[in-house]
Symmetry: C2
Subunit: 391 residues, 2 copies
């Protein structure tokens, strides 16, 4: 069983911390996946249905995105497991040779409200596409993510709604903890069975506990007992105050194992990213850069602007004068505004390109500043400039 | 006035015929514009509002499109003349360094139906955007196209509706002829006045006369009296039988001056293109490759297919196995079908890329076969294969 031994050996190095900021919890690291190394901190563009909206995979490569997200719920319903299996897994299906993280499907299922019924065994729900009855559980989620060929698999959790009483949050985190045990067991059972690629994926556990520090710690204890290749903080950015999100992150991140990657799910604005790097987070994902792009909202080094605004009608500057992305190198604000006003698809592609470039470049700059031991200064300058007002 | 002399001198070579097929009217040529040479026969992608829909300008360059269309009516209404003037013309505004042909605005205005009133002086119409009253005439159209910095300017014509009685067609072509005189005069008056670039544009006259050969000839006589740098055949592909479109093209194209480029407006399918090259046409434009792409209709060397069809759900082949475009090199039919089913923008970008690649490649192959003296054989093979059925 030499092959298995090699796989296990190579998997023993999951994450290397390369630099730690002396004055904050910020760290620069390197995450090893079956589809390449990822320098952290990193932002992961969201490709819900197997496409980061309005961009080609070539554009993502030009942006040097190293890892993107896929969505278990959506891909399970369409094109469906059998199709993806037959087409050799998600990487091959969407022609993306770099890393993919898949969520567990839980978050979407719980968002269905009246359309779902939670039991100990799992969640019965009705497809938003055709109303058919479907079922997700830790075991099914692991099976789907295995078939997708995901590099980073998320444990099946209940994303505790906000607000939740301490009692509700406790019940929820305990369900998540029991499901985490089952996720780990099923993941381990199938991880060495044949799948689209021979390389072993990583399983991340998800911390819950709403806005209650003691419950967060309780959830963490359960996860640490099980043991995961990485740890995610879930159930934030779901309606709580921003200060609460920062506080919980600040409380829980430093308690996560230092030699494992830390992922703050669904966060956030550029300010959130740098603030949560300072609190010890390594991985982020958020639909904001692409979704907001489609509404004309552009992130720049000097803050946000809405390109549909009339004041840009004759503005020959690029979206961000400091950006070197494909949109900023070639097109003016005036042209992009015109494209929006005219309902042209190209508007969405250009703004999505730029917004992701801004997010990914910000993370690279943050990483660089950590490596140089200058993160604290960088953070101040970055935020001051970002808040100074755009264009 | 050395500069003017040079401009005139360089303009004296507008078009060179490089090869003529011995058995048909097909010809290979080279058209000289202020923004580069164009090898003909050529297909011109349509960029109505200053964007070839769903594509970036980089993608158009990768496809080696040498000339695209812009739409006077749309650009006049939005972003408007003053904005485009201030931003240095259309090439600079949209960041397109190669050639641009602009239509005269006539076709769109006449499509407005109840919203427009035709007089000898010009056409009063209501904007489809805000209902405001606007006016287009030969002089206004020349002014707009001059401000846009168009390389090929179209005379302001009335696109004769179909069907038209001989009397209606005659009245219409006579109006077009009188407007052609005014277009020529205004174009010549302003062509050497400062505009966004110093290079002189070309003015094309438009042949009308509906489906009546004698009226087509009458219209042509009027155009030849005036004299243009190129000649377009208008008023076809507007509802008449396909056989009538071919017959009129076959009748009128060989009567056009052999040393001037010939442009068949708004045509057509891949079969139409090769059939009309055989009848002596050099330039084509049509929304079909991009518009049909957005409905999932794909043109391949073996005919059309609709990628939304369920039979492609697990088809790992590219859209066209003989195509080397960016979409076919990387993505499967199964993936592109999934993107359509999921409402992903990327579906539109990939199919538009491929369809334009197919059109542009077809024209390059046609040109090559003419140069080799093998057009007749190529035409047979191309059509046989195209009609053999896709996938």
């Amino acid at each position: 069983m030499i092959e298995t031994a090699i796989t296990r050996e190579s998997q023993s190095v999951i994450f290397q911390v390369e630099a730690i900021d002396p004055r904050t919890q910020a760290r620069a690291g390197r995450l090893f996946t079956a589809h390449g190394e990822i320098e952290t901190p990193v932002f992961m563009p969201v490709g819900t249905q197997g496409s980061v909206k309005a961009l080609t995979q070539e554009m993502l490569e030009t942006l040097d995105a190293r890892i993107i997200l896929g969505n278990t719920y959506h891909l399970f319903l369409r094109p469906g497991l059998e199709t993806i299996r037959q087409l050799g897994g998600l990487h091959r299906f969407i022609s993306w040779p770099r890393a993919i993280l898949t969520d567990s499907g839980g978050f979407q299922v719980f968002s269905l409200g009246e359309l779902r019924k939670i039991r100990e065994e799992g969640v019965e729900f009705r497809s938003h596409l055709d109303g058919s009855t479907q079922f997700l559980s830790p075991e099914v989620s692991m099976e789907i993510q295995h078939a997708l060929g995901s590099d980073i698999v998320m444990a099946f959790d209940e994303c505790t709604p906000y607000p939740a009483t301490p009692r509700e949050a406790l019940d929820s985190l305990e369900l998540t903890a029991r499901w985490a045990v089952r996720s780990r067991a099923e993941f381990d059972r199938i991880k060495n069975t044949p799948r689209s690629n021979g390389l072993a994926p990583l399983l991340f556990g998800i911390n819950q506990g709403s806005v209650y520090p003691e419950l967060r710690r309780q959830s963490l204890d359960r996860l640490l007992e099980i043991g995961f290749e990485g740890y995610a903080i879930g159930g934030l950015s779901v309606g709580e105050e921003k200060s609460q999100m920062y506080e919980i992150t600040e409380f829980i991140a430093p308690q996560l194992p230092p030699d494992r990657p830390r992922y703050l799910m669904g966060v956030g604005t550029p300010e959130d990213l740098i603030e949560c790097v300072a609190r010890g987070i390594d991985l982020f994902d958020c639909v904001m850069p692409t979704r907001n792009a489609r509404n004309g909202q552009v992130f720049t080094s000097r803050g946000k602007l809405n390109i549909r605004n009339a004041r840009f009608a004759r503005d020959e500057r690029p979206l961000d004068e400091e950006c070197r992305c494909a949109a900023c190198r070639r097109y003016s604000r005036a042209y992009i505004r015109h494209l929006y006003q005219s309902g042209e698809i190209l508007a969405l592609t250009l703004c999505s390109t730029h917004n992701l470039a801004f997010y990914l470049d910000s993370m690279r700059q943050i990483r660089h500043s950590i490596a140089l031991g200058e993160f604290a200064e960088f953070r101040l300058c970055y935020l001051e400039k970002y808040r100074s007002g755009a264009g």
